[in-house]
Each structure stands twice: as structure tokens, then as C-alpha cells.
């Protein structure tokens, strides 16, 4: 996967508009599909002190390759089925209340069930890589080991009741916030019919790319020919610009492109640190898109120092280059180390999570 550097599109605007009635361009769809299909390995075991009597201890671990864009409460039915049907003795387990079940990592940190699974995984992988005992791992993905507790959730430290309904509301809230960040209002999201809004969550629950994107494409900016200085669209498309997005079957108009948003919905996760969120306009100036490098230098300059300038030219060195800068840290998006020249607007259109947010996790190089 070495081709993230490509962020420009060489289609002619005219050709794209004629193909665009239903389709987002190929490039964007490819990355959205890759994001959607991304999975991470989870290994779930019940706290041995809480196993009901007569449980089958040979089967104490549930392994699942979970979609990055999904949520732990949505995995609960299959986890519950595994433990109740195969592991727990029926009599001993009959009084268990699954609304009291909660997760902890093997290291003892509480798991934030309202975070997408991919984000939980990436953060955890980075934390684990910083522990003195960790070794530089091979390319094999290490499962995220979770301990499932069956009772007494620590309510003062956890959000209450990780029910699917609470999870859905949190998810819809994130989508609306992302909408607000991009355009200064939530009317693209709230303008969708209730059925469509519910369809977004159904797409997550059923893990169906087409169902989800059938609705999401109406509100998510694309990176198709939508640069600020692009030529004016041909008159046949001009009428699309004035229709409200939900009435427009062709998807967002050029005006709704990823490079025209007010700010990109992005959050920064520093190891064992707070979540950082700031304004991220897509362009530095009229001609320069904001890159990941600009973003990181702005927010965490100690970890992403700017290159000092090149030394002045001299007879011995007429074409000096700036000296190489040590890179103490790297940026992970959807589990992939991102080249720092990646454009933020492109990330917003192509590698955001299903909740609309680009999550940048910072790892430290050994």
C-alpha cells in the first residue's frame, strides 16, 4: 500500500460530470471500501474470577476479526451467544444480566465502548508499543486482548449502559458534529429523511457498505474535481447546486467538495494523552492544501519539528538541501502509517471513519 501520495485527479472535469450521476469517483470509492473492509483481531476472555461454576474452561477465549468501523456494543450479541451457549453452564449463568457486562484491556484500562473498534485498537497498539517490555513486532497484527467482566461496572469511570441504542445516539451525534464542522450547520444530516438517517446505523449494524454509503454519499464530501480553483461546471450541472442535498440523487455538488469545507473533522490521539481537536481548514492559502505535516506541526510541534531551512549556497555546495530531521513520531490513520504530505481534505473524503471523523493516532518511534 504505497500509493497514498496520489491526491490529485487527472480526469477532465467534463468527463467526470458526465459519469457522476450516481458514482463517486473510483479513487474515493476504493479508499472508502478499503476503510470499510478493514478489520482488527480481538481476543475476548471472561475474567477467570467471574466465570460461573462449571464453565467449559477449554473454550474460555472468543476470537473475532472485528470491523474497524463497528462498535463493541454491536458485537455483544455474538459474544454473548458464544459464552452463554458454549462456555457457561446454563444453571450457573441464568442470573447474569448482560447490561452489567463491561470490558477492560488485559493491562487494566477501561475500554471506551463509544469509540469505533479500529480507534480502540490503534490506540492500544501504540500504547503497548511504548511499554519497555514490548519488542518491535513483526508485520503480524497482535490481537487486542480484552477482559469481559460480567458484573459491577465501575459507573463513575464508565459511561453508563453501553446499549446499542446509546451507541446509535452517540454515533449519530458524531455524524452531525462532523457535518457541523464541515459546513457550520447540521442541515445536511438533519435534512435526510428519518428513514435514511436510521439507514446509516443499519448499515453499520449489518456491516453493509452499499447500504451505508447509499445515504452517507449524500452528506460526505468527495475529492472528485472540487479544488477551489476548478473550472466552473458546465451549465447542465449548475441546477444541481441549488437543490438541497437530500433531494439530489446525484450526491453532493461540486460546492460540497472536500476542499471547500470550512474545516475537516479530525481528532488527534497522543499516547496516554488527551484527545486534541482544533480547526483544520483544508487550504493553507488559495493554492496550497493543508497536509498532515502542516496539521501535526501546528498541534504537536515537539513531536513533528519543522525542518530547519537549507544552509545558504556556497561554492562547495551550490544546491544545498535542508538537513534531515529526526522523526520521533509517526501518524496512524485506519491503522496505516501516513505519509506526511497527505492532504487533510483527502483524508476527510477518503479515510474518515463511518462516523465522519478522521482519527489520527500518534505513535513514537523506538
Amino acid at each position: 500500500m504505497s500509493t497514498y501520495g496520489t491526491t490529485r485527479h487527472h480526469h477532465s472535469p467534463a468527463a467526470n460530470f458526465s459519469n457522476r450521476d450516481r458514482a463517486t469517483d473510483y479513487h474515493t470509492t476504493l479508499f472508502r471500501r478499503l476503510t470499510w473492509d478493514g478489520t482488527v483481531p480481538l481476543e475476548i476472555r471472561v475474567d477467570p474470577k467471574e466465570l460461573p461454576a462449571n464453565s467449559d474452561r477449554n473454550l474460555e477465549c472468543y476470537f473475532v476479526q472485528a470491523p474497524r468501523v463497528s462498535y463493541l456494543p454491536l458485537l455483544m450479541p455474538e459474544i454473548r451467544r458464544f459464552f452463554m451457549d458454549l462456555v457457561f453452564d446454563e444453571t450457573a449463568a441464568k442470573d447474569l444480566k448482560d447490561e452489567e457486562w463491561w470490558f477492560e484491556t488485559a493491562e487494566g484500562t477501561l475500554v471506551k465502548w463509544h469509540w469505533p473498534i479500529g480507534l480502540i485498537y490503534d490506540n492500544h497498539t501504540i500504547s503497548a508499543s511504548l511499554k519497555p517490555t514490548s519488542s518491535r513486532s513483526s508485520t503480524n497484527a497482535i490481537p487486542l486482548r480484552l477482559i469481559l467482566h460480567l458484573a459491577s461496572p465501575p459507573n463513575e469511570k464508565l459511561l453508563l449502559s453501553p446499549s446499542p441504542e446509546a451507541c446509535k445516539q452517540a454515533f449519530m451525534g458524531q455524524l452531525k458534529e462532523a457535518d457541523f464542522i464541515r459546513w457550520g450547520s447540521t442541515k445536511r444530516m438533519t435534512g435526510l429523511r428519518q428513514q435514511d438517517q436510521d439507514g446509516l446505523w443499519e448499515g453499520i449494524k449489518e456491516h453493509n457498505f452499499d447500504d451505508y454509503w447509499r445515504v452517507a454519499s449524500k452528506v460526505t464530501p468527495t475529492t472528485a474535481p472540487t479544488r477551489a480553483q476548478s473550472p466552473v461546471p458546465p451549465s447542465s450541472s449548475a441546477s444541481m447546486v441549488n437543490r438541497p442535498p437530500s433531494a439530489d440523487p446525484g450526491g453532493p455538488s461540486e460546492r460540497d467538495g472536500a476542499y471547500n469545507v470550512r474545516s475537516i473533522p479530525v481528532r488527534l490521539y497522543v499516547p496516554d494523552g488527551p484527545v486534541i481537536q482544533g480547526l483544520v481548514p483544508p487550504m493553507i492559502d488559495d493554492n496550497t492544501p493543508r497536509t498532515l505535516s502542516h496539521y501535526l506541526v501546528d498541534h504537536i510541534p515537539l513531536l513533528f519539528p519543522t525542518s530547519p531551512p537549507a544552509p545558504p549556497p556556497s561554492r562547495a555546495n551550490p544546491h544545498p538541501r535542508p538537513p534531515p530531521v529526526p522523526r520521533p513520531a509517526y501518524a496512524l490513520v485506519q491503522g496505516i502509517v501516513m505519509p506526511l504530505e497527505t492532504e487533510m481534505a483527502w483524508l476527510g473524503g477518503c479515510l474518515a471513519g463511518a462516523d465522519g471523523w478522521v482519527n489520527v493516532c500518534i505513535g513514537i518511534n523506538h
Binding site: 463513575e156 469511570k157 445516539q169 488527551p274 486534541i276 481537536q277
Partner: protein, 212 residues
């Protein structure tokens, strides 16, 4: 709307103005706040304070029917409740990075340390009467009819990461700016305008939350 530096400045001005003032009914909402910053990341500062409230136990303030619908009983018709319990609340004014306005976060506990479920929160003296009007309540949120976001729901404190309840800030700017039109003088200094904005925000908050 406020930028983060404006929010920081307004909060510090507020703390400064009221830190040595005497308690009074009028200023209680604005007193007792402490400015705290994140130990290593700048621009994540917030105001915090502790407050005490009472629960309203008897003569239910909130009626729950067999379908789990919460409705409020008219206070004038309900007998005064005598048996109340002391509750402690940690309150925070944080900056909402998304909506670029202050946002009110809080937690509330019984004296034994147990956190309150939502129906007990809503019947405590923290909330002004009328909170349930036109609203749908679940165990995790209260949502007014025809609004995009729940009025009250849970979220992580942006600086400490602690789970809290919070009031959604999205309607605040409109309300505050409407009110400011009535009082602001063009000749005010930048600092005076910022302090004014924050105080007006407290007024708007005060219509939902009892901050005394």
C-alpha cells in the same frame, strides 16, 4: 462564537473578577470557579467547581408510566417534599472545539459516592422546573422534540477524559448573541466584551441549571 484563546481569556477574567467577591444571590453563578489546565497540552483549560444540591424524593416530581415514559408533575399541585438528600456535583465549563462555545459538563453523586441515574438527576434541584417539557428521556439522554442533538447526554470531559453529563451547546450562540445585542456597547474593550459574552452565557445556562 469564541475562539479558544478568547474562551481562555474570558474564563480567567471571570475568575479574577469574582474570586474576592462576597457571596450574593446575583453573583453566585459566577463565583467559586477555578481555572485548570492540562499538565502537558496547552489550550485545554477549563473552569471547575463543586456544588451541593438536593434530591427531590417524595411526591414524585417525575412520573414514570408503564411504558417508561417520563412526565413531569406540576409543581404547584404536588405536595412539598420534606425528605431530601444531599447531593454533590462537580461542574465544569469547557470549550467545545466543534461548536466553538463554552459547554457545561457535570457529574452528580449521592453522599455514598454512587452516581445518579438520569431520572434522579432531572428531579434534583440542579435543574430548573420545566426541564422535561416536550422532551423524551432514556436512561442515557434527554432530547427535546425537533432538535438535532439531545439536550442532556453523556460524553467524555475534553481535558480529563472523565465521563460526565453535558448540556449540548449548539443552540447557545444564538441565545447569547441575541441577549448581547441588548447590552453591548461598541466602546467596550476587548476584555470587557469577552467577559460580557461569558456572563451572558451563564445567564442562558441559568435558565436550565440552577447555578446558585
Amino acid at each position: 462564537m469564541l475562539t479558544r484563546p478568547q474562551f481562555d481569556r474570558a474564563c480567567k477574567l471571570l475568575v479574577q473578577e469574582y474570586e474576592s467577591s462576597r457571596p450574593s444571590f446575583v453573583t453566585n453563578a459566577l463565583r467559586g470557579w477555578l481555572w485548570t489546565e492540562h499538565p502537558s497540552v496547552c489550550s485545554l483549560g477549563y473552569l471547575s467547581r463543586n456544588s451541593n444540591y438536593l434530591s427531590r424524593h417524595m411526591e414524585p416530581f417525575i412520573h414514570i408510566d408503564s411504558n417508561d415514559n417520563y412526565t413531569e408533575i406540576d409543581e404547584a399541585a404536588a405536595p412539598i417534599c420534606i425528605d431530601t438528600e444531599a447531593l454533590t456535583s462537580q461542574q465544569y465549563v469547557v470549550y467545545s472545539a466543534t461548536f466553538q462555545v463554552p459547554c457545561f459538563y457535570f457529574t452528580m453523586y449521592h453522599s455514598n459516592g454512587a452516581p445518579l441515574p438520569i431520572n434522579e438527576l432531572l428531579s434534583s434541584t440542579l435543574f430548573r422546573p420545566g426541564i422535561l417539557q416536550d422532551a423524551n428521556t432514556t436512561t442515557f439522554a434527554l432530547t427535546r422534540r425537533n432538535t438535532a442533538f439531545p439536550l442532556l447526554s453523556q460524553g467524555d470531559h475534553p481535558t480529563t477524559g472523565k465521563p460526565c453529563w453535558f448540556l449540548h451547546p449548539c443552540e447557545t450562540t444564538i441565545a447569547v448573541e441575541e441577549l448581547l445585542k441588548e447590552v453591548e456597547k461598541v466602546a467596550d474593550s476587548e476584555d470587557a466584551k469577552l467577559l460580557s459574552w461569558l456572563k451572558m452565557w451563564f445567564v442562558v445556562l441559568g435558565s436550565i441549571i440552577d447555578l446558585a
